[in-house]
Symmetry: C2
Subunit: 550 residues, 2 copies
């Protein structure tokens, strides 16, 4: 007899709660008041952290490694400071599924010993604490992928990506939350929210009524609250980039088949029509995303995971000699005013820096959505539904929402082939268009608006389009936030398109948007050409710096 | 009303016959006698060719380009000599589907003019005549892919590969035959024989009762008879390598996603579980295969066909500092004695040259076959069957044979995912095994025996295994031929395995094998690691030279 799903799910909560280092929990009298929505700056104003701890947790990974390399910091104090901040963050945001405090500190001590004895760092990520989305397997730990049915599953090996990062010196200190049905293919995604029947719902540090994004929502919260300088998410429709945009962090969706996927759990291994990817989020800078990528690819993971083509990570210097096309609207859903404002801000900053900026007309984004949305559940979501049925857990609202995209019947084999062929043609056309228009990078929204209200993440084609096109995309903060009473003058009279979707999304903003989204950061997305990951990160680093310059 | 298939098919024969340059047809009194099986040396003994024409057509592409670069040869005399030899070859072997004489000669004149004016070659393949398998599209020409139903289909553009080759200076002078149902995915294959209801059956130049191999059988005959120094075939189970091995030529199956596939016609665009590839055959040397690859990849086809990862073609020098593992038997079907003899010959030559040789134990080749054979027709061959039904053409025996591998019902989507996942695991395991055993290359049979008797190509896992593993593989002549009364002493008493397949294949040899296969060359296959195409060609070049050395 199967136990009721509530009893099964309890195991995940037990693992979580018994792993929390109690000494760092916020004392009752220091808790933020219930009407405080924004807790992003809680660490600084709570008085719970020393200046040294604040300084450490607000450093980039690049700087942390430099300071450990010069002997100014030890790995132990670094990982301890981030663990402390992660515990506090978890208490406020419910982003963790398991803390790895003991193992992390012991590994930090080992690294410190190594440095003391040899005077050398073990690698480019020496002592850098990294938070890890739960479905990325860690040896001997459970790996439930957001499903109650998998609550007892245990990974037999570290995911290949984690092996690479560990060799580079990284320390994994906390595992993070994901929504039910993160599903689809090796990687994840699906909800752009972050709620499941195991450890519940993760919140946004900038506004507790908002979603941290999903499916790597735990990572959004982790990096947004600076519980880790780097985190690892997965993305098949925006699952790295939405959390990064929603939480004021940085996120990178690499071209598929660059980072190794071995050992990442998902309901559909072998689904490869639309490939999910694994990639980094960062709390401080685009440079840290690159540090991560370089550390991984320098280890030639293609020698082990043969699906990966041997394309070494190239060192690329940013250059202002580039053309950026700004996509103001995808032709389907009009972005909310703060997003448009951020794009205008970016345009003027780029032009002031002497960078050539043109408008980018979207090319058949509706067609792209038609293809990818059919690819998400070609089997009519049979696998996902059966996983939910297996435990008896309820289907959460956004899971049902995602399932509405599945066809009532599985596609035929021939239909899946047709979709693949359409996908390839569309990719080639888009690439040719960028070339013929002379556009190197596309600057565009990361989402129709800022962080969605919890349960309202419905439209994700501002990110998914780059999944079907398989183009590398970087999300970074514009430096702007939602402003009180904001509504761009000429947008007041915006009349939504009659496609059903545009009006739904516009009304979310129009009715008291500035109030609903109070405090939310505005992220932007820079997209490069297929396999030009290095150039895209270099350009995004430059753009991001220009945006934050005075 | 649809016309009877015989009437529809007539169009293909009309195109062919009206394209044949009549002036080079063999006069009736010069035809070989009906009892001559071996026509490979017909050009030399017929007296139809001048010494100069013989010299040209027996040169490698590398040497031809060199001689055109020094002004010793013109492109016009080169292409004319090969056209002449191709017409004679076609008359004997029925390998062509269409001659492109006028266009080829006019292009040659253009190249000669360019050279005269600038003193420079247009590219690394300047003036090199290349024969092209029919389903590789050429603008404004029909492209039937071996199906009567497609007899009127016309390509709207040159295949991307042809565009690259043409830019490099190549000239396409003849299009070549393929079997019915070459099918499967973009690339082809399926019959390892070469017979269709359009232009009939292609024969083997070394023995007219034998198959030239398939599905690129026209290319086997073309390069085997030296109608072209280079040819283009496609391969999803051995379709480049078997024709090369059967006809005494050289053939290369690159790693998938290196050469561009855009514009190659097949029944299943979008089928990508098992990817077909396009690659070169050569009449003279492994070096010519490399020349071809270099010319194509130096043009960065990934800028246009985004499925291709940007992996430039590297210049690699051959080295004797390598370990070659010899696979004597795949554990399923025992090779025929001439193949074993060729492997022994190779072993002694390699050892004499100081190369380290070890035995290679095959690893789960039956498992690999289980996966790939299910991938060939996951839709129960519905698409192929409907293409045959569409015109009413009869299903040829080897097509029926291939269809027996399809399941009675289409696989479910989930079943296809499982196969993909099994494939990836198998690939990673095989790669890891090569690494752990310290083996750089595997030397093995290209087929269970030498060229099959027409209609008897039944077992192709000596080649297909490298398709499922996606490892680059080169076929080259061992320098040996079937010998009269050949049966290796210790093999006389060979008792076939009871798997049903081994006995069937062994009996083909045991009963008068030496007689049935009289005159057939023995090819061998060298296999490298995934994406080590450059190293594999370099090593195969070295091995091939050692085998032909005294």
């Amino acid at each position: 007899m199967t136990l009721p799903w509530e009893i099964q799910a309890q195991k995940a909560r037990d693992i979580l709660s018994s792993s929390i280092p109690q000494q760092w929990l916020i004392p009752a009298d220091k808790l933020p008041s219930p009407d405080e929505k924004n807790v992003e700056d809680f660490p600084r104003r709570s008085g719970l952290f020393s200046e040294h701890e604040l300084a450490i947790t607000e450093m980039s990974a690049t700087k942390l490694v430099r300071d450990m390399g010069s002997g100014n910091l030890t790995a132990e104090e670094v990982v301890t400071a981030f663990l402390k901040r992660a515990v506090v963050g978890h208490q406020l945001l419910n982003f963790a599924t398991e803390f790895l405090a003991e193992k992390a500190i012991s590994r930090a001590k080992e690294l410190d010993r190594h440095f003391k004895e040899t005077g050398k760092l073990v690698g480019p990520l020496h002592g850098v604490p990294i938070s890890v989305k739960e479905h990325i397997g860690i040896k001997d730990l459970t790996c439930n992928g957001g499903y109650v049915a998998w609550v007892n599953d245990t990974a037999t090996e570290d995911a290949l990506l984690l092996q690479c990062l560990e060799k580079a010196g990284a320390i994994f200190h906390v595992r993070t939350n994901q929504p039910q049905s993160l599903m689809v293919s090796l990687p994840s995604h699906r909800h752009l929210c972050c709620s499941n029947n195991l450890t519940g719902t993760t919140l946004n540090p900038y506004n507790l009524t908002l979603s941290p994004g999903g499916s790597s929502g735990g990572e959004g919260a982790s990096t947004g609250f600076k519980c880790a300088p780097l985190g690892i998410g997965t993305d098949i429709g925006g699952s790295i980039r939405c959390p990064a945009a929603f939480c004021g962090s940085y996120g990178f969706r690499p071209t598929a088949l660059r980072n190794p996927m071995t050992g990442i759990k998902a309901p559909e291994p072998g689904q490869e029509a639309i490939r999910g990817v694994v990639g980094p989020l960062a709390s401080q800078s685009v440079a840290d995303l690159e540090l991560f990528q370089q550390a991984v690819l320098d280890q030639q993971p293609w020698e082990i995971e043969t699906s990966i083509p041997p394309v070494p990570w190239r060192r690329v210097q940013p250059t202002k000699d580039m053309t950026v096309g700004i996509m103001w609207d995808d032709g389907i859903v009009h972005p909310h005013p703060p997003v448009t404002r951020a794009l205008r801000h970016a345009k003027s900053k780029l032009e002031a820096a002497g960078i050539k900026v043109v408008d980018w007309e979207p090319y058949k984004h509706g067609h792209g959505w038609d293809i990818i949305s059919k690819m998400y559940y070609p089997d009519a979501a049979l696998l996902q539904r059966s996983l939910i049925t297996a435990s008896g857990e309820p289907t959460l609202p956004l899971t049902s929402w995602a399932f509405t995209y599945s066809s009532p019947n599985p596609l035929t084999i021939a239909e899946t082939w047709t979709l693949n062929a359409q996908r390839d043609v569309y990719r080639d056309e888009y690439q040719a268009l960028m070339r013929s228009r002379g556009v190197d990078f596309i600057l565009c929204p990361a989402y129709v608006g800022v962080a969605a209200v919890l349960g309202e993440s419905h439209y994700w084609n501002y990110t998914a389009i780059w999944n079907i096109l398989d183009q590398p995309a970087v999300v970074f903060p514009s430096g702007l936030f939602v402003e009180k009473d904001e509504l761009v003058e000429e947008e007041k009279e915006y009349v939504p398109r009659t496609n059903g979707v545009d009006e739904r999304e516009w009304m979310k903003w129009k009715v008291a948007g500035a109030e609903r989204y109070e405090g939310a950061p505005v992220g932007l997305q820079l997209v490069g050409k297929h396999f030009k990951d290095e150039e895209t990160l270099a350009a995004a680093g430059l753009v991001s710096e220009l945006l934050s310059s005075a």
